[in-house]
């Protein structure tokens, strides 16, 4: 967090209302996201209790595991959820077109990519657990599951892994999306409670923020958005209802199940409504220009994974092998750097954040040497104009840092030559090195003129895809001690464990 964002939180606290933190919504918001509100049973990981699922506010589908400790019912739930998720994924795979010719690999992309929205980071974790329980399951032998169960497991794992990568939009917690755009006067921890966060942004009619916040933390008024249910709900309502269902004779079982479903539906409905309210609020925020390019990358990775699955791909490993881990880390770091630069480039608010900590600067051009020409090592004469910017920002960028500028054409590139403090301002001299065209005279508009306002931030740059050794040539320092080829077999024969 920077001082600008901290200040926004202070303003929110003073005004008792959420304040804007960005100009844009940096995440793509699909026209038809799949909303999943998962609930799990306390005390046991990967024990789903229920989920409310759907792509439209009006038609939620309620899935309930009437006896969460029964693993047959758990996988029946997974199969039912799998049906919905796979329908949705197939919906995104209806149309495929040739992509840009650049690069190798996927030659054509699906024109759409899935977007699953859950209420909070805990929802992502619940899907991760469900994905892990399902993806190694076998469809034959002892304890077989429906075909769709391992497929759901693999797709959920794919979505969860994509969510770890900055800038993707295939699985997102709504609290995160809201928190990127609005600052509240409460802590980051409390912002993970969807109802609390919404209390700041759009309190219910007739309530002020303080009252709405108090309601948001009262499980009787606002049931938690999951995945955990309120302990008091478990104790006074859920446990007796499950017991009634479990002990009901066949004639009464249907009534007991209906009662249980209704009970759980009442817990889920308020969150369901909040989810769609949040989505419509987010639709009201303009999407950042560069979100489109990130969506294209989502589509590429969605297409690649879909093809891998269609070719009978294996479930994702439990733990990365050394090379895979290195690859993943490199990809995640890269994505984070790119996403941060994208946001700062698009969004003056984010740029201000970076400026306040000296990672970017903006100011007025006070001196320019537009006609400067230098001779390169290769004996070529090239334009290298010098421009001096006076800024009040506390710049900390070292000489030689490569820069991009949101206030100049996209191909504009510059290097920091020197930074000289001048009373409470700094004079930053930069050398323009790119985006001026081929000739000796820079194209018009490619060099900032005296008196012009410009902003610069570091260029995350182009980096070659790092080369890692093959999987069978892992250096001994990183070689795994044990061979885990039987991992798949072992996990699939996991005890069913209905013994409690």
């Amino acid at each position: 967090m920077s001082k600008v964002s901290a200040l926004a939180r202070l303003e929110a606290m003073e005004a008792m209302a959420a304040v804007q933190l960005t100009e844009f919504r940096h995440r793509r918001l699909s026209d038809h996201p799949l909303v999943i509100v998962p609930l799990t049973m306390a005390g046991e990981a990967g024990a789903p209790l229920a989920a409310m699922v759907g792509s439209a506010k009006r038609s939620p589908k309620l899935l309930v595991v009437a006896q969460p400790r029964n693993r047959d019912q758990r996988f029946a739930f997974a199969a039912e959820l799998g049906g919905i998720v796979m329908d949705y994924i197939d919906h995104c795979r209806r149309d495929r077109r040739a992509g840009s010719s650049r690069g190798k690999g996927v030659a054509s992309f699906y024109t759409d990519a899935p977007q699953v929205l859950v209420p909070n980071p805990g929802g992502v974790k619940a899907l991760a657990d469900l994905g892990r329980t399902c993806r190694f399951r076998k469809t034959t032998g002892s304890y077989p599951v429906a075909d769709i169960v391992p497929r759901l497991g693999m797709w959920l794992t794919f979505l969860v892994e994509s969510a770890e990568q900055a800038g993707t939009s295939m699985l997102l917690p709504v609290t995160g999306m809201l928190g990127e755009h609005w600052a509240t006067g409460q802590s980051v921890l409390e912002d993970q409670n969807l109802a609390s966060l919404m209390a700041w942004i759009a309190p219910p009619d007739g309530l002020d923020v303080a009252q709405a916040m108090a309601d948001a933390e009262n499980p009787d008024v606002c049931p938690p958005a999951g995945p955990a249910t309120a302990p008091s709900f478990d104790k006074y309502y859920l446990e007796p209802a499950i017991k009634r269902f479990a002990t009901a004779d066949p004639l009464a079982a249907a009534a007991a199940e209906a009662e249980l479903r209704e009970l759980i539906a009442d817990q889920l409905k308020p969150t369901w409504r909040l989810m769609w309210q949040a989505i419509s609020l987010l639709r009201g925020v303009p999407e950042a220009p560069r979100a489109a390019a990130r969506f294209e990358r989502d589509r590429a990775s969605f297409t690649a994974y879909s093809d891998y699955q269609d070719a009978g791909g294996l479930p994702q490993r439990k733990q990365d092998a050394p090379i895979g881990a290195a690859r993943r880390l490199s990809r995640l770091e890269r994505a984070l750097a790119d996403f941060e630069a994208d946001m700062a480039f698009d969004d003056p608010y984010v740029l201000a954040d970076r400026r306040s900590v000296g990672e970017a600067f903006a100011g007025t051009v006070v001196a320019a040497e537009p006609g400067r020409i230098v001779t390169t090592d290769k004996n070529r004469r090239v334009p290298r104009p010098l421009v001096t910017v006076r800024t009040q920002d506390p710049t900390r960028l070292a000489a030689g840092t490569k820069l991009i500028s949101p206030s100049m054409p996209a191909s504009h590139r510059a290097l920091i030559v020197s930074t000289i403090p001048d009373e409470d301002t700094s004079l930053v001299t930069v050398e323009i090195v790119g985006g001026m065209g081929q000739g000796l005279v820079p194209k018009p508009g490619s060099v900032p003129a005296q008196g012009q306002q410009v902003a610069y931030l570091p260029d995350p740059g182009w980096r070659p895809v790092p080369v890692f050794p093959d999987n069978d040539r892992v250096p001994w320092t990183h070689a795994a001690a044990a061979d885990d080829t039987d991992e798949f077999h072992e996990a699939a024969t996991e005890e069913w464990g209905n013994d409690d």
Binding site: M1, V4, L7, A8, A230, L238, K318, E494
Partner: protein, 381 residues
């Protein structure tokens, strides 16, 4: 001196029953050690749940019956048939050589479940074992005793295993899963801290018999469900650092008198008067207000007083409300009024605030610039 402190603590608690420390509340000491309110309430054995509720700040805490049932059934399964599953895990997964197994059930002594009796029996058996006598290797639910601030607190580890490398090992049986070799770090930490209380109590007990601290290992054995099954997995957890931390926290409790000296005379958190009539909530809040509290948002996860402290921080416009992420950006500033005053140039910074004030003013200028251009099309171009 000690008596004076105790009398003082009794006054603070009022007529309510004294709560003793449990492993859980001792482990909680680690969470927010600087909080005076918490220290004073705990040391006086006050019931924080009742106090918060009476003051009008009840926190919907508690454990789900499903979690409790799962915890109990997992522990029962691990210990069934003389700890057969547990031994399998200790031998196979941790590759421990437990040549002979002598299982000792200390849940009661000949049907007598009183803590004192169980503690006496525990001491007898464990001291014998430490001296190489007897055939005990697994001690189920021994009863340990730790003196905290001069008061006895009985602690009951799930299990103590002996002769894992000839040292006692505390075994914690927990029902959160170890999935693919990984468990939730927060839960592992809480389990480890709880086990630290047992290590310290075990050492204290052996020390009385002249046995040195090296007889108790600072590595605990965590036993938890493997992946999504009901079968156990086990792992060693190094608890050295937390043993040291908890030892330090316990030493602080001994010095509770220093904290009490700073509080006004006659202060009490009683929720009823001597006649048993409820005390006006406003009066209780006033009493609580007298004691410094260190609120942090994560108190909401573990302290019964959190709603009260948060309301107090909000009323005072304290930056504590926003949490450490914001606080660390605003070092040396405590309140919203001051931070915004400095940012808007309406307050003069003191010598230590000059630097932070300058960067706040800069941030405020940036935000003002944004607001003036917000909404204009192409503002981002």
């Amino acid at each position: 001196m000690k008596a004076a402190v105790d009398a003082r603590l009794d006054v603070l608690r009022g007529s309510a029953l004294r709560l003793t420390y449990s492993a859980r509340s001792l482990a909680a000491l680690e969470n927010n050690p600087r909080c005076t309110l918490r220290a004073v309430l705990d040391a006086s054995g006050s019931n924080k749940t009742d106090i918060a509720k009476h003051a009008g700040y009840e926190l919907p805490f508690g454990q789900s019956p499903f979690a409790i049932a799962r915890g109990n059934s997992f522990e029962a399964m691990v210990k069934a048939n003389g700890c057969a599953e547990l031994l399998r895990v200790l031998r196979e997964i941790l590759q421990l050589s437990l040549p002979e197994v002598g299982y000792q059930d200390l849940n009661d002594v000949g049907g007598d479940g009183r803590s004192e009796i169980r503690h006496a029996r525990t001491r007898q058996l464990l001291v014998r074992a430490a001296r190489g006598l007897g055939d005990g290797t697994l001690f189920d639910h021994p009863m340990l005793l730790l003196r905290v601030g001069g008061h006895a607190a009985f602690l009951e580890p799930d299990l103590v295993a002996f002769r894992v490398g000839d040292r006692f090992h505390v075994v914690e049986i927990k029902s959160f899963p170890i999935i693919d070799g990984r468990a939730d770090p927060a839960q592992v930490r809480a389990a480890t801290t709880q086990a630290c209380a047992y290590i310290i109590a075990l050492r204290a007990m052996l020390a009385e018999a002249g046995i040195g601290p090296e007889a108790v290992s600072e590595t605990i054995v965590l036993v938890a469900p493997r992946d999504f099954t009901n079968r156990p997995a086990a792992a060693f957890v190094d608890a050295r650092k937390q043993v040291a931390t908890l030892t330090r926290q316990l030493a602080r409790i001994e010095r509770i008198g220093d904290l009490l000296d700073l509080l006004p005379d006659g202060l009490t958190f009683a929720i009823a008067d001597e006649a048993g009539l409820p005390r006006p909530a406003g009066e209780l809040v006033e009493a609580l207000d007298q004691v410094p509290a260190t609120y942090r948002p994560d108190c909401l996860n573990h302290c019964e007083m959190a709603f009260y402290c948060r309301a107090r921080a909000r009323d005072g416009g304290s930056l504590d409300v926003l949490g450490p992420v914001v606080r660390e950006q605003l070092g040396g500033i405590d309140t919203v009024t001051m931070a915004l005053g400095l940012a808007r140039g309406k307050l003069r910074p003191n010598d230590e605030q000059v630097e932070i004030a300058a960067s706040l003013r800069h941030a405020a200028r940036l935000r003002a610039e944004l607001r003036s251009t917000a909404g204009t099309p192409g503002a981002a171009a």
